[in-house]
Amino acid sequence: MTDKKNDREDATRPSVATPAAPAAKQGDGKRTPEEWAPTFGQVRPKTFEETITMVNGKPFDFVGQFLWQHEAAVVLHGWKLHAHHAGEPFRLSKADYEAALKAASETNEKGEYTPHPAALSPHAPKTEPKPELPEEEE
């Protein structure tokens, strides 16, 4: 493998206590999800026992910077895809971020997570209703 993307991600992992995110634009009260995360206790606390094991000179173990509600909301609302396609991070209000966390924590009677509309990126994946199951291969 020549592309060390995984290692790069690890190497650039910011301090778990101080998430790195673009500064909030002034005026509209909106921030990126990463900027809102500390407000809602969504940053993973650094434990005393946490050690760094090095592989190829880089920390190999990327344990993640945020807690599960934040990460689930990222996927549910397409925020990572938004950053990829729009070239800038998704921005939302404090109330919408909080509602997005709640949306990623609850399922409807079908077992589906319903995104909070105001937090949903236009780049979030779209799916179609599922048909009958395929038949088996004997």
């Binding site: 993307k5 592989v55 173990d61 509600q69 689930a72 990222v74 924590s105 077992g111 088996e136 291969e137």
Partner: protein
């Protein structure tokens, strides 16, 4: 002091602190019909384990793990996604008037229900049998049917071990239930959501749960069950990835498997799961199989389940350097049928890194197409075994280095510098201890008869870091895994002579 002088030899054991088979049991998370949510169970006796946690897809996986590894941890979750029972649809041979209904919820597994009327009559007279396994398009001869049962006079039949009740209503007659009539439907079992998982994981390391994990390491984790859709699976996967990080920060260096939404379409899987989720600690499967249940009951012997059952079963049985798709390891035990054969109907590409099933020209049975981890593009952690291998090495490094915590180390003076790095002789001592332990844990023979599970490996101490100033001894562990022979390119032809 001995007299006359002699040489006293003491043979020590346990210095390597090798992990025995009992200390790193597989770990399964899921719902079940009995037990307490957020409680960790250690199952070693199948009967006692079943009595404690009841039934469910995760219980079946755990029972398979007990069979394979001698034990299994099971973390029971709450199940906020309620199970659903469909209506029971009648296909009549004539003009019968009987109908059937099913009680709400409670199914212990996902079921394909087929009830056959075997003797004409009303309640208390007619007879029926039923199957809950495989699919409703599977030939009856391939399914597991109960014995014939008289329709209860009261019309209510509690289906043993299934978690629900059927009600027979005769209708106006004159023919009520007629031999040849068939009632079909489906049931899904309850499932956990992200909050249920979060609650269960939050209690994993405290109280009785934490005590159960003392001196034990979690290596292989299975998030049991079928998410409702691929999109739901992706949301769940994002949460699962953070829980795997939590395990790592608690010194449980592990890899895990989940279902990526196998009951959804492959196109939805690609757009809503594969395109949005990647993590080197998580493998996902898009596969359904008919697998022999380790916990069968009347009408339920070969259920249709997520391929997670066989995927994880193979992962638990595999060596640390063994690719899960290794053909020479044989076909998947107990797998009777698969929903999609990736070799004949290829749904994905290598870049999707999805666990699927295939047939193989080498012989009968079904195999895992390739043992991928759902890592990001370009990641070193392409395969499940690469991850497991490094987890094993990491655990050794972590454990051995811990012995030196707060030990004094010697440093050396560098001319014209204030920094004092570790003394090379001291560094060599630590390196030797750790490399010895690494060599032991990676020692073969492997299933392919190689002497080690790695091509090469080395742990080295950074001899430039100012240990005196930082009080940090920095080390590097590098391992070269054994690559799998995925493809072969052979040229064949006829010739007048061949040179050997």
């Amino acid at each position: 002091m001995p007299y006359p002088g002699t040489v006293t030899i003491t043979v020590q054991d346990g210095g390597l602190q090798l992990v025995s088979g009992g200390t790193n049991f597989p770990f399964v998370i899921g719902g079940s019909s009995a037990g307490t949510a957020a409680q960790l169970y250690l199952g070693t006796d199948p009967q006692a384990f079943k009595a404690a946690v009841g039934r469910g897809p995760g219980v079946d996986i755990a029972l398979d793990c007990i069979s394979a590894a001698g034990g299994c941890f099971f973390l029971k979750t709450a199940t906020s996604v309620a199970g659903v029972n469909s209506v029971l649809t009648a296909t009549r041979i004539g003009t019968s008037t009987g109908t059937m209904t099913v009680s709400v919820g409670g199914a212990t597994h996902d079921f394909a229900i087929k009830i056959r009327i075997k003797k004409t009559g009303t309640v208390g007279v007619g007879k029926f049998d039923y199957s809950l396994d495989r699919t409703n398009t599977t030939a009856d001869a391939e399914r597991t049917f109960s014995e014939e049962i008289t329709i209860p006079s009261g019309g209510t039949f509690v289906v043993p071990d299934a978690g629900f009740t059927w009600t027979f209503t005769p209708g106006g007659g004159p023919t009520f239930f007629e031999v040849g009539d068939v009632f079909t439907g489906t049931s899904t079992t309850a499932h956990y959501n992200t909050t249920d998982l979060g609650t269960a994981m939050a209690g994993l390391f405290i109280g009785a749960n934490g005590a159960l994990l003392t001196n034990r390491k979690i290596r292989k984790v299975c998030w049991a069950g079928n998410p409702a859709t691929a999109a739901a699976a992706a949301t769940l996967a994002a949460a699962i990835a953070t829980h795997m990080g939590t395990l790592a920060t608690n010194k449980h260096f592990a890899r895990s498997m989940m279902d990526g939404g196998s009951i959804d379409t492959s196109s939805n899987y690609l757009s809503a799961f594969s395109a949005v989720f990647a993590n080197s600690r998580v493998a996902d499967t898009y596969s359904l199989e008919d697998a022999i249940s380790p916990n069968p009951f009347a009408g339920f012997g070969i259920p249709r389940v997520s391929g997670l059952f066989s995927d994880f079963g193979r992962a638990v049985r595999a060596q640390i350097s063994e690719n899960l798709g290794r053909v020479a390891s044989g076909p998947l035990d107990g797998c009777v049928a698969i929903a999609n054969d990736e070799s004949k109907n290829t749904l994905f590409t290598e870049a999707d890194k999805t666990l699927t099933f295939r047939t193989d020209p080498s012989g009968p049975g079904f195999f895992i197409t390739n043992g991928y981890l759902k890592s990001s593009a370009g990641s070193d952690f392409l395969y499940w075994d690469y991850g497991v291998l490094l987890d094993e090495g990491t655990t050794v490094v972590d454990r051995e280095l811990a012995r030196y915590r707060l030990s004094k180390v010697r440093t050396i003076k560098i001319p014209s510098q204030t920094a004092r790095p570790i003394d090379p002789r001291n560094a060599a001592q630590i390196e030797m201890a750790i490399n010895s332990a690494l060599a032991e844990v990676m020692r073969g023979p492997t299933v392919d008869n190689h002497p080690s599970h790695v091509e090469e490996q080395v742990f080295t101490i950074d001899q430039t870091n100012d240990v005196f100033g930082t009080r940090i001894v920095r080390g590097t562990y590098r391992a070269v895994p054994l690559p799998p022979a995925e493809n072969f390119e052979v040229t064949v032809g006829l010739a007048r002579s061949v040179t050997v």
